[in-house]
């Protein structure tokens, strides 16, 4: 059983109060001086701060706290408070959450953390790139991201198999947004780490994404933006990270691609270009590792080279360039796809990913 000190317990109680807004908690805490005093004399400080009576008394507070701790124990949740020894130092640069509720592998907090984000509409090639880069990153970092579709999910798929994934939720741990990703969330809770600053039962609100992004930026050493339109949550994370003095990496895009406007804008403002995982590793002095080579047949080599030169091509055009029947090109492409070198982009087009 996780042991919490009296002071920690008081903090956990404060942060698990759904009725209080984050700024109200801060005001109360400042008034009381320390969490234990606030816990003991909550009504007094509440009345003083908001000039209205609070509906709570010490005995019911204690009961609530005990019930809360028992519930957390039962569900396998834990709380990391600002007073805990493993509270991430880097997070204190951000407007630090008093308590982070978590589920899963708590030890991931001690690792070097790298953040991978992307907007919900991420092109298939970028998603595949994100998955691969997150997989490669997970050898040296714990990867932190959200839980939305698109870029976030790509990073999840990449880093989760190695168990080095932290997902920060914009809602209570027992909620899931988007609901369709409940099974993914479950999986992360088992092999990775789920974090949230929100009390249980707290639903997602419009501003909670913004608040969550500051935690992403605060936890990590650097951020990679897989895709970001002109206005995107991924950009908020990147900008916050800049504020905290983190490194920002972005995937370059064609000028006209709407999903890449934000990425290109970041690059213009001096973000690092990231086209392979070594670009990130270089920044932190990590030496390249030799990769296992895949062997290609003659036809595969030919098709791959053409696609590699063009980036993205229609199967029929590709077949014409390679001088083979379309169905043969299609077969070769699906062979390359299984080898992880190309990816279907929709509309019978294929994109090169390596």
């Amino acid at each position: 059983m996780t042991r919490y000190t009296q002071e920690e317990q008081a903090l956990i109680w404060l942060c698990a109060c759904n009725e209080l807004e984050p700024h109200e908690r801060a005001v109360l805490l400042r008034a009381a001086g320390d969490p234990e005093t606030l816990f003991e004399r909550f009504e007094f400080f509440y009345e003083k701060a908001f000039s209205g009576p609070a509906e709570s008394d010490l005995s019911s507070r204690k009961r609530n706290l005990e019930a809360l701790l028992a519930e957390m124990e039962e569900k396998g949740y834990f709380a990391v408070t600002v007073l805990s020894r493993d509270y991430p130092e880097s997070l204190k640069a951000a407007f630090p959450p008093l308590v982070l509720f978590g589920a899963g592998k708590r030890e991931l907090l001690k690792e070097d953390i790298f953040c991978v984000v992307g907007s919900r509409i991420t092109p298939p090639w970028a998603a595949r790139f994100g998955t691969e880069i997150a997989a490669a990153l997970s050898k040296r970092f714990a990867v932190v991201t959200g839980l939305a579709e698109g870029g976030d999910l790509a990073a999840v798929h990449g880093a989760l198999p190695a168990g080095k994934l932290i997902s920060v939720l914009p809602c209570g741990l027992d909620e899931c947004y988007p609901a369709a990703h409940a099974s993914v969330k479950e999986e992360i809770g088992r092999v990775g780490l789920l974090l949230s600053e929100y009390p249980f039962g707290e639903k997602t609100r419009k501003y909670s994404f913004h608040a969550r992004n500051r935690i992403l930026a605060g936890l990590c050493k650097g951020v990679l933006v897989l895709s970001a339109g002109e206005k995107s949550g991924a950009l908020i994370t990147a900008n916050t990270a800049l504020e905290y003095g983190r490194d920002v990496f972005a995937v370059p895009y064609n000028p006209s691609v709407a999903q890449g406007v934000g990425c290109n804008e970041l690059l213009k403002r001096g973000a690092y270009v990231c086209t392979c995982v070594q670009d990130i590793f270089d920044c932190y002095g990590i030496l390249p590792q030799t990769e296992r080579e895949v062997t290609l047949s003659g036809a595969e080599e030919k098709v791959y080279n053409i696609l590699h030169a063009e980036g993205e091509l229609h199967t029929a055009v590709l077949a014409e360039r390679a001088g083979m029947p379309v169905y043969e090109a299609a077969a070769t492409l699906s062979a390359l796809e299984l080898k992880g070198l190309v990816v279907k982009s929709g509309g019978n087009r294929y994109g090169c990913v390596k």
């Binding site: 919900r120 509409i121 579709e149 698109g150 988007p178 369709a180 709407a258 229609h314 199967t315 029929a316 055009v317 077949a319 014409e320 379309v326 169905y327 043969e328 299609a330 077969a331 070769t332 492409l333 699906s334 062979a335 796809e337 299984l338 279907k344 982009s345 929709g346 509309g347 019978n348 087009r349």
Partner: protein
């Protein structure tokens, strides 16, 4: 005097013999029918009375009782009119000397005594021949349909008087000559693959689909020629054999949609609108169960345009017939089984706005919208569609070499070759195409080399396929190998088969 005349009723695709017994007694004139006749049969009273009068024959002013045996079978339709009239004449001693035993009488009467055609004649004739009847009198308007039944004397009659004269030997009717079955040379369809512009991938896919009898889904933005491609399917399908034609004709005859020729000479191409109900799709009805669209498409193509627009329940109902090739419909009136081995061809847009994956147009749908749209097609249904191909709007300028446009005839020759290989392979099994293979046949005819097996396993893990999808991929690979003329399924065949499965992840 009692007269017994044989007539036939239909139950599904089977004819059931019905004896029409008539007794004319002395007494107060009356006219009763017993033996579960439905309204249409009861109304025949008036038709028969007028037809007799207007043919210059006598309607007996006696106490008449007509019984239909077996008494527990519900008799429906107007096909009994002729049998009732003849039995009345026989019972009232107006047909003395005529031999009416072992003759089956079929036909509806007009008030002036003319014979009107009945639906479902061919299945009745086939059943009756199986029961040992070889002499039939049928309406002249049904002659075209009837003449395909060999080994029987079939007399087409214009009206009741002609029947009477024939029976009494005054003016014998010439029996029908058995017609030779000839395949339609399809002048009536203007579709041809040579008019399809571009779409090399989809062309290949429909070739494979037809060669192996596989189901096909075409996904693509509006206006890229999905419907056009689908309309070309019948033009490259193998010609009907007489047995197939007969089986299809039976269904179409029961449904009453048989054309002028009297036999189906072209593979059916059914395109039910997406407002179709489950009953219209699968078959059904109050008491008589009519064949649905899937049975009418038996031996041909069922084309579902805009697949997600169909009602979910209607689509799900297709799952079991897609596997079994037949459908059993149960109603209060009985349980009927109709064959429904059709090739499913469906088309849909990739997303609500239609532009997902388009080269030059922007898709404005959110991921959730696209997911919702595609969710309308359930996984199990998608599993049963072997070939899923994207139809795109690639422009001509991208293809410089000027594409080779094959016409349907050339493609059909290749399909015929592949079908021939399959016929030889399945000569000892009750199968026609690769798509119909079960587990046992998969084991026998689709052994994969080690390399192919590895490929399939990797594809499996990557695409998260079901066991059924795996079997379907192997079947498609078998067909591709057949088109290639290869005995063994090679890696390239497996790769190509895998390329025709869209991942339904976004």
């Amino acid at each position: 005097m009692i007269a017994k005349i044989i007539c036939y009723a239909l139950a599904g695709l089977d004819g059931i013999p019905v004896e029409v017994e008539t007794d004319v007694n002395k007494g107060v004139p009356s006219y009763d029918m017993v033996g579960l006749p439905d309204t249409a049969v009861k109304e025949s009273k008036e038709r028969v009375r007028s037809a007799l009068k207007n043919s210059g024959l006598l309607f007996p002013m006696n106490r008449i009782t007509i019984n239909f045996a077996p008494a527990d079978l519900k008799k429906e339709g107007a096909a009994f009119d002729l049998a009732i009239a003849v039995s009345l004449l026989k019972a009232s001693e107006q047909l003395i000397g005529a031999d009416v035993a072992d003759t089956v009488f079929l036909g509806e009467l007009a008030l002036n005594g003319d014979l009107r055609p009945v639906s479902g004649l061919l299945p009745i004739l086939i059943s009756a021949k199986g029961h040992g009847f070889t002499r039939f009198i049928v309406p002249a308007a049904n002659a075209k349909e009837a003449r395909f039944l060999g080994g029987a004397e079939i007399y087409p009659a214009e009206n009741l008087l002609a029947v009477v004269k024939h029976l009494l030997g005054f003016e014998p009717i010439e029996p029908l000559e058995t017609a030779e079955f000839a395949v339609c040379k399809r002048q009536n369809s203007s579709a041809d693959l040579k008019y399809v512009k571009g779409q090399p991938i989809a062309r290949r896919a429909i070739e494979i689909a037809v060669a192996g009898g596989h189901n096909l889904l075409m996904v693509g933005p509006p206006g890229t020629g999905k419907t056009m491609l689908a309309r070309c399917l019948p033009t490259i399908m193998p010609d009907l054999s007489f047995e197939e034609a007969l089986e299809i004709t039976k269904i179409h005859s029961v449904a009453g949609i048989l054309g002028e020729e009297g036999i189906v000479t072209e593979r059916p191409f059914r395109t039910p609108h997406h407002t179709a109900t489950t009953v219209s799709m699968c078959g059904g009805g109050n008491r008589v169960v009519h064949p649905g669209e899937i049975s009418l498409a038996h031996g041909g193509v069922l084309f579902l345009d805009e697949l997600p627009e169909y009602k979910r329940s209607t689509l799900e109902a297709l799952r079991q017939p897609l596997e079994d090739g037949k459908i059993t419909v149960s109603r209060a009136g009985g349980t009927f089984t109709y064959p429904s081995r059709f090739m499913l061809c469906a088309s849909m847009n990739p997303c609500p706005c239609g532009n997902y994956g388009s080269a030059n147009l922007v898709c404005t749908c959110t991921p959730a919208e696209i997911r919702r749209y595609r969710k309308k097609i359930s996984g199990p249904l998608l599993d049963r569609i072997d070939l899923q191909v994207e139809v795109d709007n690639i422009s001509y300028d991208d293809l410089t070499s000027g594409e080779q446009r094959e016409d349907s005839k050339t493609v059909k020759e290749r399909v015929d070759m592949a079908r021939k290989i399959q016929r030889n392979r399945f000569s000892e099994y009750a199968l026609n195409t690769n798509a119909e293979m079960g587990e046992r046949e998969l084991d026998l005819f689709c052994t994969l080399g080690e390399e192919s097996e590895t490929i399939l396993r990797r594809a499996f893990e990557r695409m998260k396929l079901s066991a059924r999808a795996r079997a379907r991929i192997i079947k498609v690979a078998r067909t591709i190998a057949d088109l290639d003329g290869c005995e063994e399924i090679g890696p390239k065949h497996v790769f190509e088969a895998v390329s025709y499965r869209l991942e339904d992840k976004f």
